[in-house]
Amino acid sequence: MPAEGVFSLIWLLIALPLAGAVILLCAGRRTNSWGPYLGVLTVSASAVLGWVMLWEMLQVSPEQRTVEQNLYSWLVVGDFQADMAFQLDQLSMVFVLLITTVGALIHVYSIGYMSHDRDRRKFFGYLNLFVAAMLILVLANNYLLLYVGWEGVGLASYLLIGFWQYKPSAAAAAKKAFVINRVGDVGLSLAIMLMFVTFGTVSFEGVFGSADEASQGTLNAIGLLLLLAAAGKSAQFPLQAWLLDAMEGPTPVSALIHAATMVTAGVYLITRSNAIFDIAELAATAVIVVGVITVFMGAIIGSAKDDIKKSLAGSTMSQIGYMVAAVGLGPIGYVFGIFHLLTHGVFKAGLFLGAGSVMHGMNDNVNMRRYGALRTVMFITFITFAAGWLSILGIPPFSGFWSKDEIIHAAFEQGVVVGVLLVIAAGITGFYMTRMFIMTFLGKARWEEGVHPHESPKVMTIPLIILALGSTFLGMALLFWGDIESWLEPVVGFESKPAALSTAATIAISLTVVIMGAIVAYVMYWRRPVPIEEPRGSWLTRAAREELYGNQVNDALVVKPTYVAARATAVLDAKVVDGVVNGSAAFVGALSTRLRRYQTGFVRSYALSMVGGAVLVVLALVLVRAS
């Protein structure tokens, strides 16, 4: 469908935040006073435009909901063509709404959170840049333009994690995030090259239309490379080490980029490429394996961290693992993976902003061992955080229940093993989120001297309230009123298979396991006093505090060999290359010292050498003549 009416403004969705970013970053200090408000305005305008487009899309029948807008022919090289073209269909529509709406709320929150920061104008510029890049990613209609957005969000993530770049830990964390992301990006670029070689095009239409003509091996290769890219961007095993360090950035960044949107780009990529994963079974299985491993890794790490942001980051890793496992299941799971992505985006953003509100009141302290009994002083934060907590646990009727339970049910449709594993992980989720909730808001106060926690200003609490309403009602709204299954079905396909357990049994079992996890946390953290000093803990606790030794593994496998190779190259350059150059210079010097002796200065010796040379020439001539 060509872009007409309001859809001809698809480019404006991207252009508004992009213009905001350019103005705020290029115009400099002049814009310091009104800069933040411009940042909020551009993203809010995009959000409003997105909702209008949704309204229009709902008026049209499902077959006509895909809208394409081709701005211009971007790259034409021989047989290869990639256009600057956007595709707005049901899948990208929900992403556009998530990104712009949650983004707008976080921009508003940042006005309050970053009000004391000297560089806040730059912050809003970078945030706008991120929103623009993420929109390019989800609206692109070919893999090359998607890659542009992919790189753009990686850049924005680097700039925002290292926002306080004078802190060495923040600068190092930004670099770490970027380098690990790069490994994933290699996967995406190789996949694009492989697609071009196989299909001759990288547009979605071209690739998905001819997907069944390629060999299994090629499709598996493309699928595995796309999985590598998704693992890098979404912090899945084995490229998960950057996410916890990324919490060095300001809390709105953690909420927007590392919870709601950027880390979900990997799930988007796999879902968009469903035509490939439907055929490439090996790649799809690998997706499920990666997802399940990460679900457990994130849950275990989140259970042992005392830093509230790092615990939430572990939780994000785990929940995205759920989404990745869901989309790896195939047509039975795509819809639910995206459904969970949307509900998670809302409640996790709410949880992170709530954590930011708590930190704001506790002088930016992140150690939960120093929190406690905050419900008495920060009531709104307490209630909104509770909504997010119940949602992530999956307690009905909150949002998380509807999406997570559908994923577990779909896993049981596939087989028993994955379903059981996801249920166990749900129990661990119940444990660590309840632990966080109790340590922060309930129990006895363990505040430090001179800390006077207070509720945050309205500019911060109103987004919290809106997100809490979303955490409560969005699940039901999307499932019953929005009918998310049939909304996404034209894009990703949707099947239902008979499952090992019925829906009711699944709900009963997973709720029981979750509540058991919550009770364990209650016993450990409310009945007993919480120690201020970190106790030694079991070997698993200590391993989880070290992030399951992920950093040490990366260090040994990648960092040390790279240093060794770099040092070897430096030695090679100094000894061999410089040696050859300096050696030939020395050789010429030595030769010239020997030959200099012939310059005696006596005319007669020169005359003698002339005579000798003439005699030799004559002899040579005579010999040549004679023979």
């Binding site: 200099r596 310059q599 200065g601 006596f602 005319v603 007669r604 005359a607």
Partner: protein, 99 residues
């Protein structure tokens, strides 16, 4: 008269001139030896012209004479200048252009 004898004479004269260049110490005598070598060459050219029956060799002899004259002009000028500064015509003395 056998022209070959003239070529032989030319060779003898050339050798005497060459030895004189290498052996004598006085710069003027070295120059004389160089002139001797040039004239030996002239003699050879003329003898060969007679042997071949055309006048090419005699033409070249003229060229050689011109070259010899020019060379003497320049060479004597250099020697006289050196003599003025050093008061000696020995060719072993000026060895400043050594390494």
């Amino acid at each position: 008269m056998n022209p070959a004898n003239y070529v032989l004479l030319s060779a003898v004269l050339f050798s005497i001139g060459a030895v004189g260049v290498l052996v004598r110490r006085n710069a003027i005598v070295v120059f004389m030896s160089v002139e001797l070598m040039l004239n030996a060459a002239n003699l050879a050219f003329v003898a060969f012209a007679r042997m071949n029956g055309n006048l090419d060799g005699q033409t070249v002899a003229f060229f050689v004479m011109v070259v010899a004259a020019a060379e003497v002009v320049v060479g004597l000028a250099i020697i006289v200048t050196i003599f003025r500064t050093r008061r000696s015509a020995s060719i072993d003395e000026p060895n400043l252009l050594k390494y």
